[in-house]
């Protein structure tokens, strides 16, 4: 009840023995609307109109305060699995109240000692092993039929069908705790006595916060004669104590006695109470304040039914919601419709939000587009200005860039044959001469590239180790021959010297002797003729050499 403002608005239909009492419960008040006697002409139509017009079509909570409600305590369920529990409970309820179509079961919290201890015999364990329930049953009396008819005709939603004593038990506990405050522990037994407008005196007895007993009896309202009223109430209270002794109540047990009454009636009653107890009396408004709620101005604050209506009507979860098939038939379609409406509302809200945010986003984008167009206009003007300036120079900027860049890239890829020939010429010196030289740019003459041999690989590895970058873009072949006037050894020496010089002049190239003078050739057949007038020709003497150079473009 702390979040009073968040509590639901409901119409509470308090079903008494002689009439239906209608309360409109909001966060601020529990307003009595009307009482319609069961025998009233056109009962259903009257209640229907009250529910729709006076109560604004709020969901109704049916709170049964009739005498005809029956309880069977101490109903223990056998130990069954979770899946079977509901079925067993339903069957037990049916057995307990075979003729009462409105039924409910409330699980009772058990003390630790009530559970079977390990090691106890099986029979004893079975007796106390299952959960303990309080069964409740209500016969389908004519007032209920009429009430259901009215609810059905009014088209209002149904919050539930509950029993006033059960739903009031936590209120009694809350009052007991509040009254005890920090000064003492709340009493084990708490007795709440309140008279309703119908004249019925409802007594709700709780033990450790759980409903222990309830009684409803007829008592005349204190119409000026408070002593007579007090005497009647006291008699009923004594009778209740008498019943309580059957449930373990001892005369010396600490008890909270809470009475809703006017101060005058309360004084008269207090004088009569002679049993040891913490007696507290308050008006309905005072009790509501103690519970942290407001019930608004009441015509007679000595009646407790507005307090019950406010307490039960604002509950978000009921202690025992009775299962009434007739009411379910009315309630379920409306609940489904309410769920559909809620989902549609949520969907509408989401779509509205999505549409609104989409619109907002689109408008923002449109605004940004306008801004970007304006910026583009400025940028375009600057761009055009720069292009114009460049055009005024008499040149096509892109053509200049294209021309220069392309020419530069062509130059980078050009084989510098003249420089290469000049370097080779320097390497040859004045003594040596070549028979033939070929220079190929391998980018255009892949087929002319000679096979890689081990020597070249070795040279490449050595050069790489020296930090030189070797490129094989150009391949040069030098063919040389020596006159027969020199020995092959001399020729080989000169070729070896030439190789060294070329390597020195062309450090980024690989230079190797493909064939040296008089080299041993084991791969080809050697043939010739010697004898009269026959001597070794220059070719037979093998005075030819071949040097290859692989290197960069320039």
């Amino acid at each position: 009840m702390a979040l009073a403002l968040m509590s639901p608005n409901r119409t509470v239909l308090l079903i008494a023995d002689d009439a239906l009492f209608i309360y409109s419960v909001t966060a601020r008040a529990a307003r009595f609307i009307d009482a319609v006697a069961w025998g009233a002409d056109d009962f259903v139509r009257t209640v229907e109109l009250l529910l729709r017009k006076e109560c604004g079509g709020k969901p109704v909570l049916i709170l049964n305060d009739m005498t005809d409600q029956y309880f069977k305590g101490g109903q223990r369920l056998p130990n069954v699995g979770m899946m079977d529990k509901q079925g067993v409970l339903k069957r037990k309820l049916q057995v307990a109240f075979p003729n009462y179509p409105i039924r409910g079961a409330l699980q009772i919290k058990q003390k630790k000692g009530e559970r079977p201890a390990p090691g106890t015999d099986k029979a004893a364990s079975a007796r106390v092993a299952g959960d303990l329930y309080l069964f409740a049953g209500v016969p389908m009396a004519e007032p209920l039929v009429k009430t259901f008819e009215a609810v059905k005709a009014s088209m209002v939603a149904v919050a539930g069908f509950t029993l006033l004593p059960v739903e009031a038990s936590d209120m009694v506990r809350a009052l007991s705790v509040k009254l005890a405050a920090k000064e003492r522990r709340p009493s084990e037994w708490a007795i709440f006595i309140g008279q309703h407008q119908s004249g019925a005196l409802r007594q709700v007895v709780t033990r450790n916060g759980q409903l222990a007993m309830t009684r409803i009896t007829g008592v005349a309202a204190p119409d000026g004669d408070y002593n007579a009223w007090a005497m009647d109430v006291y008699q009923e209270f004594k009778a209740t104590l008498g019943y309580l002794s059957r449930y373990g109540y001892g005369g010396d047990d600490t008890t909270d006695l809470m009475v809703v009454a006017t101060p005058e009636a309360s004084d008269a009653l207090e004088r009569l109470v002679d049993v040891p107890c913490h007696y507290t009396s308050f008006t309905a408004n005072e009790a509501a304040r103690l519970l942290g709620m407001t019930i608004g101005v009441q015509e007679n604050a000595g009646f407790a039914d507005a307090l019950h209506a406010a307490w039960c009507g604002r509950k978000s979860k009921f202690i025992l919601k009775m299962d009434a098939a007739e009411l379910t038939r009315i309630h379920q379609p409306r609940q489904a419709a309410a769920a559909v409406i809620f989902m549609l509302l949520a969907g509408t809200a989401y779509l509205a939000w999505d549409t609104a945010s989409g619109m907002q986003s689109m408008l923002a984008a449109q605004s940004e587009i306008s801004e970007q167009k304006r910026i583009l206009g400025q940028v375009q003007a600057e761009y055009d200005q720069e292009v114009k300036r460049l055009e005024e120079m008499g040149f096509d900027v892109k053509l200049i860039q294209a021309g220069l860049n392309t020419f530069q890239s062509l130059e980078t890829a050009r084989m510098d044959v003249v420089t290469l020939l000049k370097k080779i010429s320097d390497g040859l010196g004045n003594e040596l001469r070549i028979d033939k030289i070929t220079v190929n740019d391998l980018a255009y003459n892949q087929a002319k590239q000679s096979a890689v041999d081990l020597t070249r690989l070795r040279d490449a590895a050595v050069a790489a180790a020296n930090g030189q970058e070797l490129q094989s873009n150009v391949e040069t072949t030098i063919h040389m021959s020596f006159p027969q006037t020199i020995t092959p050894e001399e020729g080989r020496k000169q070729i070896d010297d030439l190789e060294r010089r070329l390597k020195s002049i062309l450090p980024t190239s690989i230079v190797w002797i493909e064939k040296n003078v008089g080299s041993k050739d084991y791969t080809e057949t050697t043939s010739g003729e010697v004898g009269a007038n026959k001597s070794l020709t220059a070719e037979e003497l093998d005075m030819k050499a071949e040097i290859r150079i692989t290197g960069p473009l320039s």
Partner: protein, 220 residues
């Protein structure tokens, strides 16, 4: 069912369902496409602005560079790098180079022009025309051949690069050849074979007009 839930609830459900449908239609049918279109337009605008801003900055930065590159570009223009490859002009130029380099003869073969796209010229809508020229040279001295090559590379039209070169000594300089030279008979001591690539830039429109075929981008 309607009797149980009531006409009012039914109306509310229908109205809400209708409202949901209308809102969904507006949201997904109208706003979302418009939103996407606006986003695309905005993205295109931003991209355009970015490009123009970058280009403007580049133009400004390159203005000074272009001033200095102007002379180089003019040189390229003057050597005929930007333009078609006139075969007649090429013949005249080879003749002049032959004469100046003193090679005894130069037999040339100018191949067909081949058009290719190059990355550096795409933006200016220019393409590269490449022509292979094969030349067989007869010379008295290999130095004349080198001079011929040097002149081809530096005094020919556009850009010329040697892709293959072969030089062979065909006669030794001895008494016989000296006498031959002395008597005025040209003696061919060396022969050379040259393969060159002749390249110029020309507009795509020019290339289309002269009917040269386009091939894939060249690696150069």
């Amino acid at each position: 069912m309607i009797k149980l839930i009531g006409a009012k609830r039914l109306m509310i459900i229908l109205v809400l369902a209708g409202l949901c449908a209308v809102l969904a239609g507006v949201s997904f049918g109208l706003i979302k496409p418009e939103q996407d279109a606006a986003k695309r337009q905005l993205s295109a605008l931003k991209s355009d602005i970015s490009f123009k801003t970058t280009e403007t900055a580049r133009f400004r930065q390159e203005m000074a560079e272009i001033q200095s590159e102007k002379n180089t570009f003019q040189s390229l223009q003057s050597v005929g790098f930007l333009g078609e490859q006139s075969r007649l002009e090429a013949r005249k130029r080879i003749e002049a180079i032959q004469s100046y380099s003193r090679v005894l003869s130069a037999r040339y073969n100018i191949g067909p022009g081949v058009i290719s796209n190059v990355e550096t010229a795409t933006e200016a809508d220019q393409v590269l025309m490449t022509t292979e020229i094969k030349i067989d040279l007869d010379a008295l001295d290999d130095a004349d051949v080198y001079k011929f090559i040097s002149l081809m590379e530096n005094a020919f039209i556009g850009h010329v690069s040697v892709t293959s070169f072969e030089l062979q000594r065909v006669l030794d300089l001895n008494e016989v050849t000296l006498r031959q030279i002395g008597s005025g008979i040209p003696a061919v001591l060396v022969k050379a074979k040259l393969v060159l690539n002749w390249k110029t830039l020309l507009s795509r429109q020019q290339a289309a007009l002269i009917g040269a075929g386009t091939v894939a981008a060249e690696g150069m």
